[in-house]
């Protein structure tokens, strides 16, 4: 299914190894892997409902390092909503989000109305360095939403995406396709479902 103009684009940022890919893969495929394969840039698509219609959520999973600034800027300018991930086991990873937040502000101008979610991942891990309060404070400072998640135990992963979509005020979006579907819509969805399996 080629890209459409009404695609909703979410971009996931964060330092390398905090679990960005794990969160996305848990959400899209329901899987989790222990091994670490660095990402450069991957995209995924998921069918969601938007203004009672079917539309596609396009998720861009990015690299943690700053090797490709051009790629980073491009995905920010194309993105509608952003997920900023750190690992609760590393204070450093929270620090590294700050310059990214600044670039988003710089490129998007006004961040009001742009859904941004700060995420503390790996909350299953006992080696905590960042408390939940610290995360919340940071989110207040940025006036964005906040959640702690675990891709490993599948804690708050679906909620993360659901909440993010609800922050979008210009459209009404939901992960559930609860609209009354016409036959053709159902068929379209089925087709799209197939495509994502591919």
């Amino acid at each position: 299914m080629p890209e459409q103009s009404n695609d909703y684009r979410v971009v996931v940022f964060g330092a390398g190894g905090v679990g960005k890919s794990s969160l996305v893969l848990r959400f899209v495929r329901g899987t989790f892997r222990e091994c670490y394969i660095p990402t450069i840039e991957d995209t995924y698509r998921q069918v969601i409902s938007c203004n009672k219609n079917v539309c596609t959520l396009q998720i861009t999973d990015t690299t943690g390092s700053h090797q490709f600034p051009a790629m980073q800027r491009l995905s920010i300018s194309k993105g509608h909503a952003f997920i900023l991930v750190y690992s609760i086991t590393s204070r450093q990873s929270l620090e590294e989000l700050k310059p990214i937040y600044d670039i988003i502000r710089e490129i998007k101008g006004d961040v009001d109305g742009i859904p941004i979610m700060l995420v503390g991942n790996k909350c299953d891990d006992p080696n905590r360095e960042v408390s939940i309060q610290e995360g919340m404070e940071q989110s207040k400072f940025w006036s964005c939403a906040f959640l702690e998640t675990s891709a490993k135990t599948n804690y708050n992963v679906k909620e993360l995406f659901q909440d993010l979509l609800q922050l979008e005020k210009r459209r009404t979006m939901s992960l559930h396709l609860e609209t009354k579907k016409t036959k053709s819509q159902k068929r379209r969805e089925k087709l799209k479902g197939k495509c994502t399996v591919m």
């Binding site: 299914m1 890209e3 450069i40 840039e41 995924y44 490709f68 799209k192 495509c195 591919m198």
Partner: protein
């Protein structure tokens, strides 16, 4: 677009002449032509040369004409230049049809037998080359007399051709003394190597004898380093089997033999350059050889000098190896280095097999994954990596989807695919059965707005200059050996052709750029202005001897969607119209691009040659000549291949030192513009744009 040049050359005028009246020049043209004829592929260069003076051009107008009847006496042998014929036998009718490049009638000449079938023209205007019996037999006799065959175990192992070389006595100019040299025509690789070591290392330099250089330039075809290195080591250690003479003589023999091996290796380094330095087999071999020479030095002190030279080579090779690898990013069109340092941003280094490349692989739904792999990673491995990452299942194909929607599957064993894409092509992966469902990305369309506002105020000279500087770097990065890999099949040698690919793509890019800019300029007066500008840029490129971009621009201007813009061309000043038609004349492909070749022969390096023609020459040489016959390497083919590689070497034997045009303010902007041309490369879309600019007359 390259097809225009790849088209078979039209029959040349020289054919028409009576064989007796042919000039040396004509014979040369005919010879070049013969190199491309399939039916002659098995004949040696010597035979082909002889044929040039006896071949008769024959043309028949009417289909149905009988060339000869079954049972006739066999008088001549025919080669089809153009057209087709039916082979007809009594009682059987048409037994087969022969086409361009096929031949017939030779059997009756060789066996002195009557014709075994009749030949009937299948279409009007068939063209043939004819060789008559007397000439044919004479040539075979003459050539055989000048051929020396060395046999081993009753089989030919080396075939040499005796070539007269007239040398002048220095003290008496009037006396010509005819001597001979022996050129290698064919042989088994090991025997050729032995011959090389015994006769070429210590001989006096003779510019006409290219055996040594040709062997080192083309060895990958018949003796890749995996075979050549062990063979050299064996030669080095061959004292055990050598003759037992008086003590001193034996020692001299052993030392000379060892020294020659080392000298050959040093020459190999000089001739093969980058290909030599990047080869891991050679690297290991150098270490082994070096320690062997070290061990031998106490016993044979005269090996000290060769040892020192070898050490130099080893050092040079190691230093390139340590210079680190780069990461190349395939973004839209250019392959740009991802971490360029500010100071040498403008200087490219050649792409190496173990460099990394970053590119996106798209699925049918246009989601993608970005890969970072080595240049020489095979398609099979790429498919495996992607399929693991994306859970895609089995029976996948990797293919290029062009902006036109055309899909080209990659060969499983292919390497460096990222550089082999067309201008706006992208790499896709899909289940084999779903290949038809792939559609290009919207971004592959290319720009929707031209850059006329940038081009208008920018000086043509400056643009041509910066284009040339870029082309020159791409050209310098291209290794001669890449031509061999490109033509003979890079997957066979698992060697990359990335540098050549990038340079060849540059040609298409520049060509598409010209068409794109003109088709995206809707205002006629601006379009005329742009047309003027492009002709001027072409003129500057020609002046800089940048024939590659010169041709790209002229071919862009001759593209259907530009040449049909009659109103635009009408408004072009007459002077520029004349300039353009002069340029077009240079592109005339007839007589095997005679006009261009003549022009090129008058230029002095540095030259940036018209790359697609070099590729075409290589391809025709490859297809028109067998690599092996009767178990021997057809070394005449290697001579031809190497001579094309030498053209490349010659063109860049001098460095480019152009006076840069008067400094302008926005040099940086111009540099980045010419290196990042945004183009539409979908001919259909270009035609549509062209039709909206100037609708067809109804």
């Amino acid at each position: 677009m390259m097809r225009l040049i790849l088209r078979k050359p039209t029959p040349i005028r020289a054919w028409g002449f009576d064989p007796q009246e042919r000039s040396v020049d004509d014979l040369e043209i005919i010879y070049e032509e013969l190199l491309h004829i399939k039916a002659l592929a098995h004949l040696s260069g010597m035979v082909k040369r002889q044929l040039t003076s006896v071949l008769v051009f024959e043309c028949h107008e009417k289909a149905g004409t009988v060339l000869f009847h079954q049972g006739d006496e066999g008088r001549s042998w025919f080669i089809i230049l153009r057209g087709s014929v039916n082979v007809v036998k009594y009682g059987k009718g048409v037994v087969c049809t022969l086409h361009d490049g096929d031949d017939f009638g030779k059997l009756a000449l060789v066996n002195d037998a009557p014709r075994a079938a009749s030949i009937v023209l299948r279409e009007d205007n068939c063209q043939f080359l004819r060789v008559d019996k007397y000439d044919f037999n004479r040539i075979l006799r003459d050539v055989e007399a000048n051929t020396v065959r060395l046999k081993e175990h009753g089989q030919d192992s080396l075939v040499l051709e005796k070539i007269p070389t007239s040398t002048q006595h220095s003290n008496n100019n009037k006396h010509h003394h005819v001597s001979y040299r022996y050129s290698v025509m064919a042989g088994v690789p090991e025997k050729m190597l032995e011959h090389l070591l015994e006769t070429r290392i210590d001989s006096k330099y003779d510019p006409t004898d290219t055996f040594l250089e040709d062997f080192l330039l083309t060895h990958i075809v018949f003796m890749p380093s995996e075979k050549l290195c062990p063979a050299l080591l064996q030669h080095y250690h061959s004292e055990r089997t050598s003759s037992r003479g008086p003590e001193q003589e034996t020692i001299d023999h052993i030392v000379n033999n060892k020294r020659r091996v080392v000298q050959l290796v040093c020459l190999w380094h000089v001739v093969a350059g980058y290909a030599f330095k990047q080869d891991t087999t050679i690297m290991q071999f150098l270490e082994t050889l070096f320690s062997a020479v070290c061990d031998d030095c106490p016993a044979y002190p005269s090996l000290q000098d060769p040892l020192a030279s070898l050490e130099q080579v080893l050092k040079a090779v190691k230093s390139t190896k340590d210079s680190g690898s780069h990461t190349w990013q395939v973004q839209t069109q250019v392959l740009s280095e991802s971490r360029t340092h500010q100071e040498d941003e403008l200087r490219r280094t050649p792409i190496k097999a173990k460099d990394e490349t970053i590119f996106k692989v798209y699925c049918a739904d246009h989601t993608y994954t970005t890969l970072r792999v080595h240049m020489d990673t095979s398609v099979t491995n790429i498919i495996q990596t992607v399929s693991e990452k994306m859970c895609l299942g089995n029976d996948l194909v990797l293919c290029e989807v062009k902006s036109s929607g055309e899909r080209l599957s990659f060969h499983q064993k292919d390497v460096c695919i990222a550089t082999s894409l067309s201008c706006n092509g992208r790499i896709f992966i899909t289940l084999r059965d779903h290949l038809d469902a792939l559609t290009p990305l919207p971004e592959q369309e290319g720009p929707s707005e031209g850059s006329v506002s940038f081009l208008e105020p920018t000086s043509s000279r400056e643009l041509a200059y910066q284009m040339t500087m870029y082309d020159w770097q791409l050209f310098l990065c291209t290794h001669e050996c890449e031509f061999i890999y490109h033509t003979f099949g890079r997957h066979k040698y698992r060697r990359i052709t990335a540098n050549l690919d990038v340079f060849l793509r540059r040609f298409n890019e520049v060509q598409s750029w010209i068409v794109t800019e003109l088709c995206l300029t809707s205002h006629i007066s601006k379009r005329v202005h742009l047309l003027k500008k492009f002709i001027k840029i072409a003129a500057h490129c020609k002046e800089y001897q940048n024939m590659n971009s010169f041709y790209a621009i002229i071919m862009g201007l001759s593209h259907m969607s530009v040449s049909r813009l009659a109103q635009t061309w009408d408004k072009l000043p007459n002077k520029l119209k004349r300039v353009f038609s002069d340029f077009e004349a240079l592109m005339d492909p007839s007589r095997n691009h005679r006009v261009y070749r003549l022009a090129l022969s008058k230029m002095r390096p540095p030259i940036i040659p018209f790359m697609p023609l070099l590729i075409k020459d290589m391809l025709f040489t490859h297809e028109g000549n067998k690599t092996y016959f009767e178990g021997l390497v057809n070394f005449e083919k290697m001579h031809l291949v190497a001579s094309i590689m030498r053209v490349v070497k010659y063109c860049r034997s001098e460095n480019f030192k152009l006076d840069s045009p008067p400094a302008v303010k926005n040099v940086k902007e111009i540099v980045s513009y010419v290196r990042n041309l945004q183009v539409i490369d979908n001919t259909k879309r270009l035609m549509q744009l062209s039709y909206t600019l100037e609708p067809p007359k109804t």
